[in-house]
């Protein structure tokens, strides 16, 4: 159950089109020349430095990259905080804010909710994050230690996804969980939630990287899901407890998803969405990027198709994903379930056989050569069997014949 070396699977990503990407200017090339900075070993070793780090992490306008630059010069967190307080580093706003933060109360609230601070160079600080140009100096973690939750792969995608996207994300997460991998995602609606849910259902652990504090469930409807994620795996955030979810935090959150994972799978994403950011980050970090394709006319396939064109590996189903990651769980098909059952009814079989792309019933009637009333009736029976579903007046096949799993939810 080992992950194959990233050299082998990452091969797909080194393509001529990647050169074009470099020309367009990625994050990495923007900060070229500065990437050799590393956190000093003594940065947060002493108790005093850890207290100082709690204050520093609460500062609203000190970015991780600027903190890293400061730390390279000042060596310890205490010294960095002193520089900020003295006005040598950071903004006046940071200085004013620093004096109002009581590290004792942050530590107390962290303890109250069963969380902890994982600082850089701690034994359970995930090494993958150090590949980032702006690795967080510390993470707030609630749940199990990240080093127990390996190997990790991320499944991300649109919040406003389609039912079939949800289903595919679920199938992939389930396969990863069964193969012993930990599913990382962003705890958001749509694809994220579907991936977490399926991983938990399959008995696997899951990690949710939040754009808010680890005690602030966002979106609120995922509160109980996030509680379950914390119980099985953990919740991770670089923001101190109590931090509200704000739009600018999500792109930053996405870099941590990429940093924590060996591979990132993008299921659905409309143009200009966060999934593209996560995938770009993953590419910059040399992680494997996988994408589930869709029809070129489908707006939700924009990001996956763009990634595939740029060299990401195309995923048809769980088998492709596990094969590429070098994971195995016995026989598994890309459909993620048993083959289609013998229906024993020629009308049902005829309708199912012409149902290749989502289509309204009258179009299916025309291609199956059956009268419309019969086709509508057949579709209802297929729906009862869990083989098809209706989305906005068109019928489509379900990726998993999943009538039984419906009752489990």
């Amino acid at each position: 159950m080992d992950m194959a070396s990233s050299q082998e699977t990452g091969r797909r990503l080194r393509r001529p089109s990647d050169l074009a990407r470099e020309h367009r200017g990625t994050r990495r090339s923007r900060v070229a020349g500065a990437i050799d900075l590393t956190w000093p070993l003594e940065f947060a070793r002493s108790q005093e430095d850890r207290q100082a780090l709690l204050v520093i992490l609460s500062l609203p306008s000190l970015t991780p990259r600027r903190l890293l630059e400061l730390a390279a010069e000042r060596r310890t967190a205490t010294s960095c905080l002193r520089a900020i307080n003295a006005g040598i580093a950071g903004s006046p706003y940071d200085r004013r804010h620093a004096s109002s933060v009581d590290p004792g109360s942050v530590a107390a609230s962290l303890e109250g909710l069963g969380g902890r601070l994982v600082a850089v160079h701690d034994s359970d600080y995930p090494l993958g994050l150090l590949d980032l140009v702006d690795p967080p100096a510390g993470l707030f973690v609630r749940g199990h230690a990240l080093q127990e939750l390996e190997p990790r792969a991320a499944i991300v995608g649109a919040r406003n996804c389609s039912p079939s996207g949800e289903e595919i994300a679920g199938t992939l997460a389930e396969a990863l969980a069964k193969a012993g991998a930990c599913v990382v995602s962003g705890g958001a609606r749509g694809i994220d939630a579907a991936a977490h849910k399926a991983a938990l259902r399959a008995g696997g652990p899951s990690v949710a990287v939040l754009g808010s504090g680890i005690d602030v469930p966002y979106p609120r409807e995922n509160a109980s899901l996030l509680k379950d994620v914390a119980a099985s795996g953990c919740l991770v955030s670089e923001y101190p407890p109590g931090t509200k979810a704000e739009p600018f935090r999500f792109p930053a959150r996405n870099r941590i998803i990429a940093g924590l994972s060996r591979a990132v799978v993008v299921v659905e994403g409309a143009g200009g969405s966060g999934s593209m950011i996560t995938a770009d980050q993953a590419l910059d970090l040399g992680r494997d990027v996988f994408a589930v394709p869709g029809a070129v006319s489908n707006p939700l396939a924009t990001v996956p198709l763009a990634l595939i064109r740029d060299g990401a590996a195309l995923i048809r189903g769980p088998r492709d994903l596990l094969d590429d990651l070098g994971l195995k769980i016995g026989a598994i098909s890309n459909e993620g379930g048993p083959g289609l059952p013998a229906l024993g009814d020629p009308a049902l079989e005829a309708v199912l056989s012409v149902l290749t792309v989502p289509a309204p019933p009258d179009a299916l009637a025309a291609s199956a050569g059956l009268p419309l009333p019969e086709v509508v009736s057949a579709l209802v029976q297929l729906e009862l069997m869990g083989l098809v579903r209706e989305v906005g007046g068109r019928f489509e096949r379900r990726a998993t014949p999943a009538l039984a799993s419906r009752h489990k939810r």
Binding site: P358, P360, D362, A363, A365, P373, E374
Partner: protein, 500 residues
């Protein structure tokens, strides 16, 4: 609806004035200033004395400009300018212009009907409304162009031209400007409306803008069975009262009303201050009421639809009195699937937050929609789908099937208070729709796996009964139940929301 009002006039001593008593509404008070110039322009004398006009029975509120003519004639009779002999044998109604012309007036059909009921010889009405009044059998219609002609008729110096009123032809093919053969694709919506027309079911269509919901709905009246003379008279009378009768004569096409969603509850159900006007539900009587953008309608306007949907009538109560208007219509409602309109669309992605979509969908449920048996999703077709699909059958051919299946229902429901399948209560429908064993098992499977509710169960049986009628089958088979279950889409969305 419709009373004979006696207009009395008295010319006495006092300063010149016209006083109207007997609960006149604002529209009648208006007549006081209009009648005198009309009389003087017609070459007649206005008595320069105190004139009192009384409308009896005094307990009944009266309104509308139709009182101009009777008030003027009353004053002329009281001042001995016309003989009073014919006045009590005719009914008079019509609005006067200052020049003394009789202008088209609302509600003439009701006046004519009341006159006929009261056993009067005839009615004197504006020429433009003569055809409308002529719909009442056995009543002489005097079509007067102006006040002078009406006076001439009473004096015996003017006779109307022999009325060239077109006789009503039963079964004549009404004019249609739309036809189902013009619709490309949307086979499911076409089929659903055929079933709706057959069983009298109400329909909800959910789909993105531009899917063709309105286009399909507008064609429903063309496949409804032709109106009987009785039905046509009811429609004409309601339209006459509302003053929307164009061209006069009988309304032969089933009405199609599509009020804008900003309509008030009074506009929808009837009412208004003073004169109680029939609302859209009554103007759609015997026809189709189309509510586009259902979720945008005001809550009170939608809540009020429950009574007409249940009883086929609406009672409007105001301080000025209560009126009972007929309102039996086919409701066709249309809605977007979500606030932005593009959820589930193939080409545009939806930008709505899930909880807003849920809130939007919840507005689509509620007690009113319990009366909507057929609910379906209408997709926006892609160019390729449009080009690949055939255009439909003509409305005439569909209507033949509808009428045949209606006849089956009439026979089956003879002796019950119901005329079509949609009107049957659930328990009765289950009795009248004998299911085959396979149909039974399919239905119980749907209850178990699709979360079909008790009401959804009854709706499915009623629709399946209609589908079987269209096919000419006495027993309801699994295919009929299966198809009926296909027309319950928004319920599907609710199931998804609960599960996901």
């Amino acid at each position: 609806m419709g009373h004979v009002i006696t207009v009395e006039a008295h010319v006495g001593r006092g300063l010149p004035a016209l006083v109207v008593t007997g609960l006149p509404g604002a529209g009648v008070q208006d007549a006081r200033e209009r009648v005198r110039p009309a009389v003087e322009s017609s070459g007649l004398q206005w008595p320069l004395r105190r004139v009192v006009v009384n409308l009896s029975p005094a307990g009944l509120r009266k309104d509308g400009p139709g009182f101009d003519l009777p008030v003027a004639l009353g004053v002329l009779a009281a001042s001995a300018q016309i003989p009073a002999t014919k006045l009590s044998r005719y009914a008079f109604s019509g609005e006067l212009s200052l020049k003394g012309e009789l202008v088209p007036t609302a509600g003439i059909l009701t006046v004519a009907m009341a006159a006929s009921t009261a056993g009067l010889d005839g009615v004197v009405v504006p020429q433009a409304n003569a055809a409308e009044a002529g719909l009442v059998d056995g009543l002489a219609v005097i079509a007067a162009p102006d006040l002078a002609s009406a006076v001439g008729f009473l004096r015996g110096t003017w006779t109307p031209e022999p009325g060239a009123l077109p006789p009503f032809q039963r079964g004549a093919e009404p004019r249609r400007d739309v036809d189902f053969s013009e619709v490309r694709g949307q086979g499911v919506a076409r089929r659903a409306l055929e079933i709706a027309a057959t069983g009298g079911h109400n329909v909800l269509m959910v789909g993105p803008p531009g899917a063709g919901k309105t286009m399909v709905a507008r064609r429903l009246p063309t496949i409804l069975p032709a109106m009987t003379r009785q039905e046509a008279l009811e429609v004409t009378r309601l339209h006459s009262v509302a003053g929307i009768l164009s061209g006069g004569g009988l309304v032969e096409t089933r009405p199609f009303r599509s009020p804008h969603h900003s309509i008030s509850s009074a506009g929808m159900l009837g009412g208004g201050s003073g004169f109680l006007r029939p609302g859209e539900v009554s103007l759609a009587h015997n026809g189709v009421l189309f509510l586009d953008e259902l979720t945008e309608f005001r809550r009170d306007a939608l809540e009020g639809l429950r009574q007409p949907l249940e009883d086929g009538r609406v009672v409007v109560v105001r301080s000025s009195g209560a009126v009972d208007f007929p309102a039996r219509f086919a409701l066709i409602a249309a809605s977007n699937p979500c606030p932005c309109g593009y959820r589930g669309d193939q080409r545009r992605s939806c930008r709505c937050l899930p909880n807003r979509v849920l809130a939007y969908r919840q507005r689509l449920s509620g007690p009113m929609l319990d009366r909507v048996d057929i609910q379906l999703s209408v997709p926006r077709l892609t160019r390729a789908e449009l080009l690949g699909s055939e255009s439909g059958e003509s409305s005439v051919r569909i209507r033949e099937r509808v009428e045949l299946a209606r006849e089956l229902q009439r026979q089956r429901l003879a002796g019950t208070p119901w005329a079509c399948n949609a009107q049957m209560p659930g328990a009765f429908a289950r009795k009248l729709a004998p299911l085959t064993d396979r149909a039974e098992s399919l239905l119980s499977q749907a209850v178990e796996n699709l979360g079909l509710s008790g009401r959804g169960f009854d709706r499915a049986i009623k629709v399946a009964r209609t589908i079987a009628d269209l096919a000419g089958h006495e027993r309801v088979s699994a295919e009929h139940i299966g198809e009926a279950l296909g027309y319950r889409t928004p319920a599907r969305a609710e199931e998804m929301a609960q599960v996901g």
